[in-house]
């Protein structure tokens, strides 16, 4: 069962959004996040909602997958919502003791919560429609200009690629060690927090040793296959800018001008 886990939250599908250049998707996501902070009223959010809704529909990712991304930050949203609602001064709508809910507070609370929700939807759409490997390629390519400043871009990307490759292997290893320790009477499930943390030590030490062994083997195998850093290396899947990427840019430009225009004129 541990073999079935997927890394990140990629949703396999053959949509136009999935096929976009990962570099473009990363940049667009950043632009989108910035644009959320330009929005100053609900008309602006209507534009955001219409655009992101269209992209979600085109991506063919089921809505529940997108909403699932909101789950981990539900507490943060609830916290921001409550604080905004209670802490803003203004026309009092309802009060009980020292608790006062103001009209401006309610407005702010909804406004901020929406901003967070749109933020998460946008960024999870990136990881839902882009394979981790493509994402790595995209990041490597986007960071290339920083190579001159001494940033080891290729090395970072290679580390990410290898990490992605070895997550399942290490999980299997963990599973194996856990079963071996359980067979010898180790108990990982009962007891308080401290007792359970202590029980992890016989799990972590062999895991670390195993990881170093894997690293050593892998380094040897990579050297045997002529790996000598990023110098003079070609790429099988060189990123290519296509027609649909240009179309996406036009869409983003229209979206951004609409948001900006709304902020200035409405």
């Amino acid at each position: 069962m541990i073999r079935d886990i997927t890394i990140g939250q990629y949703y396999p599908e053959y949509s136009k959004i999935h096929k976009l250049d990962p570099r473009l998707k990363i940049v667009v996501t950043l632009v989108y996040i910035v644009s959320l902070f330009l929005v100053k009223d609900f008309i602006g959010y209507a534009i955001v909602f219409a655009s992101i809704g269209l992209v979600v529909a085109m991506s063919k990712v089921p809505i529940r997958f997108i909403l699932r991304g909101l789950k981990p930050i539900f507490l943060i949203i609830a916290f921001t919502f409550t604080l905004n609602m209670l802490m803003t001064k203004g026309t009092i709508l309802w009060s009980w003791g020292f608790v006062r809910i103001t009209e401006e507070g309610l407005y702010n609370a909804v406004f901020m919560a929406l901003r967070l929700i749109f933020l998460i939807i946008g960024s999870s759409l990136l990881t839902l429609t882009t394979k981790p490997i493509k994402l790595t390629d995209g990041i490597e390519s986007l960071l290339k200009p920083f190579k001159k400043m001494g940033l080891p871009v290729h090395e970072l990307a290679m580390m990410m690629t290898i990490a992605l490759r070895f997550i399942p292997t290490l999980l299997e290893e963990t599973d194996k060690i856990m079963k071996a320790q359980q067979a010898r009477g180790a108990d990982f499930e009962t007891g308080g927090l401290i007792k359970r943390a202590k029980a992890m030590i016989p799990l972590l030490i062999p895991l670390f040793v195993g990881a170093f062994r894997i690293a050593q083997d892998l380094a040897m195998a990579m050297e045997a296959r002529c790996y000598h850093g990023g110098e003079g290396r070609t790429k099988l899947n060189a990123l290519k800018f296509r027609g649909r990427d240009a179309a996406a840019i036009i869409f983003v430009v229209i979206y951004l001008s609409a948001v900006v225009a709304e902020r200035i004129f409405v």
Binding site: R3, I7, P132, I133, T161, I162, L164, R165, P168, T169, E172, R213, I214, Q216, D217, L218, M220, A221, M222, E223, A224, R225, C226, Y227, H228, G232, R233, T234, K235, L236, N237, A238
Partner: protein
């Protein structure tokens, strides 16, 4: 480049090892990890004055018990380890020549024991592309090499899969494809079947035989005698030295010596010997199950007539 002038005549041995000595812990620091596998003594010779020649296109098996130095010897062939003493000439290059190291490793592919720890990428085809990418091969050419080498190991239909979802034998075949994509002249298999189930073992051995048929020089490091029967030559190592060397027929005829080295005769050879003891006329040259059963069937036919 520019070293081509040093490459010698085509008819010379593709691997020529002369008096090679290798000691862990003396000057090869990155080799430290392996010393635990061999022995912990810091300055003992894992390989001790070994001289071997391997002919172009041949299939050589190197066999020996754990710690006999066979893996260390293998790593000296593609310059993963450099000799402490003596020399190794591979495909025309001296492994001690630092400028030739990538030339050597492109020509000498190596498949390792652990199928999990030698695949680099999370997608099969990307992993096969890893070697050619390092060599700076153009992307269209890499695609073609992926197709050819994955087809050669019957894994082309799995090219989009994640390695951790494959069986051990399949992973090992992907590793072989990754080496093939670099168009090597020699492939060294360092106990490629040691961690596989019988099915995976058979798959991998089948591929190795096929590669040999396609004129690739094969060096198989193993500790299963059964796997050596189809090779052209067998080298038996013990305590860092060559203990026996010869064709399978020559080697298996010396059964007492083999057993004294802690190795077992292949099942078929053992069976033939026992049959001979009981008076069944079985010649000593039969090495495969097919050959032995054909011979026995023929005998049976004669007896009935």
């Amino acid at each position: 480049m520019g070293v081509d002038g040093l490459r010698y005549a085509e008819n010379d041995s593709i691997i020529r090892i002369e008096d090679l000595v290798f000691a862990y812990g003396r000057e090869n620091e990155d080799a430290e990890a392996d010393s635990s596998r061999a022995r912990t003594d810091a300055t003992f010779n894992a390989v001790d004055r070994v001289s071997i020649r391997v002919e172009r296109g041949s299939f050589t098996s190197v066999i020996g018990r754990n710690g006999s130095g066979k893996s260390t010897l293998a790593k000296n062939i593609n310059a993963l380890l450099l000799p402490t003493g003596g020399r190794a000439f591979v495909a025309g290059f001296d492994t001690a020549d630092e400028t030739a190291v990538w030339e050597i490793r492109q020509r000498v592919g190596m498949v390792f024991q652990n199928p999990d720890n030698q695949l680099v990428s999370a997608v099969v085809e990307d992993d096969v592309a890893f070697g050619p990418e390092n060599l700076g091969v153009a992307p269209e050419e890499i695609r073609e090499r992926i197709r050819v080498s994955l087809s050669a190991v019957d894994m082309y239909e799995h090219r989009k899969m994640a390695p951790h979802l494959l069986s051990g034998g399949q992973k090992q075949r992907v590793a072989i494809a990754g080496v093939l994509a670099m168009k090597p002249e020699i492939i060294i298999f360092d106990e490629p079947t040691a961690m596989l189930d019988p099915e995976g073992r058979a798959e991998v051995m089948d591929i190795i035989k096929r590669l040999h048929d396609e004129k690739i020089t094969v060096v198989l490091i193993t500790h299963f005698m059964e796997e050596t029967v189809t090779s052209d030559r067998i080298v038996i190592m013990d305590c860092g030295r060559v203990a026996m060397e010869g064709t399978p027929a020559e080697i298996f005829a010396r059964s007492d010596e083999i057993e004294s080295l802690g190795l077992k005769l292949p099942f078929v050879v053992e069976l033939s010997a026992r049959l001979r003891e009981r008076g069944v006329p079985v010649p000593s040259g039969l090495l495969t199950e097919e050959a032995l059963s054909a011979h026995l069937l023929a005998l049976n036919g004669k007896a009935r007539n």
